[in-house]
Amino acid sequence: MLIGDYKSTYAADEAIFRVWPVRFGLAALLVALIVLPFAANSFIVFLATQVAIYTVAITGLNILTGYTGLISLGHGALVGVGAYATAIFANWLGLPFWAAIPVAVVISSAVGLMFGLPSLRIRGLYLTIATLAASFIIIFVIEHWSSVTRGDSGITLAPASVFGVELVSDAQKYALIIPIAILAVLFAQNLFRTRVGRAFIAIRDSDYSAEIIGVDITRYKLLAFALGSAYAGLAGSLWAYNFLALLPTQFELQLSIVLLAALVVGGSARSLGPVFGAVFVILIPEFLKWIFGFLTPLSPTIVEYTAPANTITYGLLIIVFMIFEPMGLAAIWTRFWRYINLWPFSP
């Protein structure tokens, strides 16, 4: 039971992790993340890495869609830009990973900014359509600029290497990707306590009012695009180093929809939302595979239905959460802990 929330300094009031159970939970999570590669088998480690990559991508979408209110259907394609930029620069210039990642981030940020330019004139629906168009155009360029991207046959890159050690095993990649993902999430968490983050939220809630109270809408909308796309680029970069082989079809509209589904299910405009969402969208295919594993003896052809079943589940999740719990799992999580905190007195 946690009754009262006593603070005696402003610093304590502004702290991100305000009460001891949160700090304790966070410490426990960090310990678990450190222990995981030693305790679990490589498939679990691989899934955890995937969750981290998706978390970064969804955090970027959260900045754009959740906090600033600009729905993007091109986020998956921007992840693709980041991944391809990493692969191309690592191959051509032989950049090491610590140089290739920032380059990829800057490039996706620039591409995102370019497609964000229409947001200066238009809002809401039109912007969603502009990002949809961006998604198709980006994938088209990746598929047809064969001399650089190798087109439909895909591209490969050398593993990242740290002090001469090539990161090839799942645990090694995990050790590279998880810390970067944690830093990225913390940065986003902090962003919304600053002037910039508050400006984003003001634009989402009512852009005219935001303009009246002195928020430079043009600048902050573009900044939101740049930041969101930078996260997408970072996720793409990590994706490239995790898989070491890329195909253009991986980044089509379907990925953008999956990312949106994750954001809605996890809870938009909450820092924890992307984490929940990422866990959810990574586990769903595994869960379905598991279920179909039971059904296969009954009918051997049922495996063919796995991919459509995935697609349906993502779509259904968006619809069901939008209708019944638009704030997502993060809201359920908050309610749950409030209930526990107030326990004998909770309703």
Binding site: G69, I71, L73, F115, L117, P118, R121, I122, G124, L125, Y126, T128, I129, A130, L132, A133, A134, F136, I137, F140, H144, S206, Y208, S209, L253, Q254, I257, L260, A261, V264, E304, Y305, A307, P308, A309, N310, T311, I312, T313, Y314, G315, L316, L317, I318, I319, M322, I323, P326
Partner: protein
């Protein structure tokens, strides 16, 4: 000779434009009446084409001749699709009534996935070629090769489009729809059955969409990804302006023609990207479209 090819391709493009107009009218209709931009319209169209496919297969199994396709198959497919549209509206869109546009858009995006996956499970992802309403022959008119199915598609699309547009302007239901579009609460107060209007618009949209799907499927092949055509038709809607029926018609022809010309000069790969480039340019230059009226928003 080169010029003859260009004319031929232009005609093909204009005819495809007719079908685009038929698809676009569904998006515009639903948007006008319910303020929902239906990203899933293409997938609704795809499902309608599958209904037609199933019905023709069943008719074929029953051994009923090809005339049954026109007398039973087509009307039944359109009816089932319209009912399907009504069901979507009632089950998925109605609970969202009064929500912000963000939630509505997200729900239609979710629908894309549900319908695409559903079609792949029910009908498998193999390509089908349902019977064309008109033979796929090619006629030569004064040295120009014209695809008969395409020409018929164009005629049918044009007739249906004109009928819908006329009904929208003149009929009682059309007036109710326009009243709802301009002010929902006042429409309620004047005794218009607003949820009923929503149902009707979704039924009309799904029905016309299904017809477009039936016209496209024999040419493009019927797979769960036929719905992607609906995404490129968004370009038509934006180019025409969301509140102008004539604008949409012109835009449909323009986009169809541009696609055909791109196909002619740059090859088929570039054709698929044309609508998206068009939409980006339009959004930058003239966001309210060719003949649409600029949005005036009161705060």
């Amino acid at each position: 000779m080169e010029i003859a090819f260009i004319i031929e391709d232009s005609l093909t493009g204009l005819m495809t434009g007719g079908v685009y107009a038929l698809i676009a009218v569904g998006i515009v209709f639903v948007f006008r009446a319910t303020k929902v931009f239906n990203f899933a319209h293409g997938t609704v169209m795809m499902v309608g084409a599958y209904f037609y496919h199933t019905i023709t297969v069943v008719l074929g199994d029953l051994g009923i001749g090809s005339w049954a396709i026109y007398v039973i198959g087509l009307p039944l497919a359109l009816l089932v699709s319209a009912l399907f549209g009504a069901v979507i509206e009632r089950v998925v869109m109605r609970p969202m009534l009064g929500q912000n546009p963000f939630a509505m858009i997200m729900v239609t995006i979710g629908l894309i996935s549900v319908l695409e996956g559903g079609a792949a499970i029910i009908w498998s992802s193999n390509a089908y070629y349902p019977p064309a309403l008109v033979g796929l022959n090619i006629d030569f008119v004064g040295g120009l090769a014209i695809n008969r199915q395409m020409f018929a598609s164009f005629l049918i699309a044009a007739i249906v489009f004109a009928t819908i547009a006329a009904l929208f302007l003149k009929s009682k239901a059309g007036v109710a729809i326009r009243a709802t579009a301009s002010d929902q609460s006042t429409a309620y107060a004047m005794g218009i059955n607003v949820p009923g209007v929503f149902s009707i618009t979704w039924m009309v949209a799904a029905g016309t969409g299904a017809l477009a799907g039936i016209l496209l499927a024999p040419l493009n092949s019927l797979t769960p990804s036929l719905g992607a055509v609906g995404l490129s038709v968004i370009a038509v809607v934006i180019l025409g302006g969301m509140d102008s029926v004539i604008g949409v018609l012109l835009a449909a022809f323009l986009v169809g023609w541009l696609e055909a010309m791109t196909n002619h000069f740059l090859g088929g790969d570039f054709k698929e990207i044309v609508p998206y480039v068009v939409v980006l340019v339009i959004i930058l230059i003239r966001p309210y479209g060719l003949l649409g009226t600029p949005d005036v928003e009161r705060v």
